[in-house]
Amino acid sequence: MIVSNLTLSELQSRLLGEGLTIASGPFNFRLQSGFSDIVPDLARLYAHHPLITDDAFIDFHVAIEAGRGLRRWLGAQARFVVDGVEPFTPLPQAQALPMIEWGLNWCISAYSQHVLVLHAAAVARGNRALIMPAPPGSGKSTLCAALVNRGWRLLSDELTIIRLDTGEISGLARPVNLKNASINVIRHFAPEAFLTKPVRDTVKGTVALMAPSAQSVRDVGQAAQPYWVVLPHYRAGASTALVPMQTGAAFLQIAENAMNYHVLGIRGFDAVGQLVDRCRHFNFEYSDLEEAIAQFDLFAPEG
């Protein structure tokens, strides 16, 4: 059974009651919420995710709740709670939906030291994966959203999970977080994609979430072998340029973008080393999205 098998009112009563339990790749999470206005968007964003049975192990028990006490009457707030722990300060209620995504990302990076967690987007063609580790503003989410609308399978937009035993990527296929100008860019680039209403004035500016494709969610369990590492850099007016990168530089870039590199110690060093060894590495500068995608499609025959 998947989320879209539920009617909106069934979905809402789950959120109000025992919670909506969803599998997202290697993680199961349970979501509870009293906010009814997030239900329709949530239903679209997670439409294809499998529901899990009541007797299953849940990795993260999360809830989005209203502000406490008097505060709830002075500008409604949303609080993210994971099993009684509140890692963030409350946000305006309008940000409840992006807050769920940020909260789940927090859970994964705080509680998953059994895998290497990269701050990176990852997409796949067949079983070959393309990893884009990059700081905010580099255009990685925009590229990632564009690629998954042109036949690439979404593994993850924000956190790339690398298994320490096999070196494979565990995909999450969760919604893609689009920011500011990239929201309209993707709307024009892929009018058929579902985007939530933009949420303004967040710490990351204006944010909209894009639903992962049905195929990405369905195939999330399929093995994805890291094959290309591309460091994107958006620069207005730049012509498309894909330049090979030395492995030493690639190692440093990946280690810098590994959220738990220091926690894993020697295992982190080995994991990054193996990842570097098995991939081809590029710096990529772009401004035109169509050209950029065409460049990546040249990879595809290999994939």
Binding site: P26, N28, D55, A56, F57, I58, D59, H61, D83, G84, P87, F88, T89, Y111, S112, Q113, H114, V115, V203, H262, V263, L264, G265, R267
Partner: protein, 366 residues
């Protein structure tokens, strides 16, 4: 009885748990800061191969965090050793740092908030200067807190290393000078043991280590770490209890240091909750089996609640009351009534936010 305590006592039962049980167990262990220890316990009983994949990941994750912290602790202790040996200040590692550097079983999977050390009161100012010269700074507290610590507490305000972010508590004794119990730190220092290969780095002798762990738990323990501290005591008692003359030494030292009461409570609750093997005559002598009296019933009502993992699955209607009473008890023990009244009065009038490393980190992250 919380599932976590049941499994810590009987690790072989883990293989019969269903997914829902594992779900509760992992959440309780996470809230009690015991994921890493649970992993090591299951490992030493050969239970890991029978553990389901998802809970196994969380256990492994907890254990990786503990391993990383142990590496940091060892590194920091090496640096402290350099700093203090330059100015000939002996220092004693306390609690977790001592367990890790001395390689005791109580270190297994243990996680930390900070490093605790003890230096002789006469050397405290020198120690603080030496630390400041090597990059340790007093954490942002207001003038009242600075004075409060320096005048009334058994430790300096927490220090943090400006580059490495590690937190350090420098003690000159193990209880605030204003508390009702007054263990003489000179006795602790005199009986302490130098670590082989690290001249100047010392740990408390086994009996004192147990007494300090008990004193910390029953005087200043924060609810979130009480069960972890109790498992520390359990590990220490199991390990040292096998050594000749330990139990005799323990009760003798408790009398000498005026720490009979924390020892009594430590023995009472480790044996009750974790089945720690303690000779019957020791329990008798320490008064750990005493059941009568209103005071004991109240203590049991408090501690049998706060020594559970502080997770919603173990809470009952009285758990919040028990936590509140524990807070009052720890303040009551810490200072005489007139001081307590002044202190609480100040905190009520000027509710300054206390700086904690976690909060500073959270604020940076936003």
């Amino acid at each position: 009885m919380a599932l976590l305590i049941t499994i810590l006592k009987n690790p072989e039962r883990a293989r019969h748990l269903c997914q829902r049980d594992w779900d509760v167990l992992i959440r309780q262990a996470r809230h009690a800061n015991l994921l890493g220890r649970l992993y090591r316990t299951l490992e030493s009983f050969g239970e890991l191969p029978f553990t389901q994949a998802r809970p196994h990941h969380h256990l492994l994750s907890g254990s990786a965090v503990a391993d990383r912290q142990h590496l940091i602790i060892k590194h920091e202790v090496g640096l402290l050793h350099q700093t203090f040996s330059r100015c000939n200040i002996p220092f004693i590692l306390l609690k977790g740092a001592a367990y890790v550097v001395a390689g005791l079983p109580a270190a297994r999977g243990r996680v930390f908030a900070d490093i605790d050390i003890l230096v002789p009161r006469a050397q405290l100012a020198n120690a603080e200067s030496a630390l400041m010269l090597t990059g340790w700074v007093s954490m942002a507290l207001d003038a009242y807190d600075q004075r409060y610590y320096r005048q009334w507490m058994h430790e300096l305000p927490a220090m943090q290393h400006m580059f490495r972010g590690t937190t350090l508590d420098v003690h000159h004794t193990i209880l605030p000078p204003t508390s009702r119990l007054k263990p003489d730190p000179a006795l602790l220092i005199e009986a302490s043991i130098e670590l082989p290969g690290m001249p100047g780095v010392r740990i408390l002798c086994p009996a004192d280590m147990v007494l300090h762990s008990a004193t910390h738990l029953f005087h200043e323990g924060e609810p979130d770490n009480l069960l972890r501290d109790l498992t520390d005591l359990d590990e220490l008692l199991r390990y040292f209890g096998a050594q000749d003359g330990f139990w005799n030494k323990l009760t003798t030292r408790a009398k000498l240091l005026q720490l009979g009461e924390p020892l009594r409570l430590a023995l009472r609750y480790t044996t009750r909750l974790l089945d720690t093997p303690v000779p019957a005559e020791v329990l008798q002598e320490a008064g750990a089996l005493e059941d009568s009296g209103i005071r004991q019933k109240l203590l049991d009502a408090i501690y049998l609640r706060v020594l559970q993992p502080q997770h919603s699955s173990t809470a009952d209607a009285l758990s919040p009351v028990a936590r509140k009473l524990l807070y009052i008890r720890s303040h009551w023990q810490r200072m005489p009534p007139h001081l307590l009244a002044c202190h609480l009065g100040h905190k009520a009038l000027f509710p300054h936010r206390v700086a904690s490393p976690q909060r500073i980190k959270d604020e940076k992250a936003h």
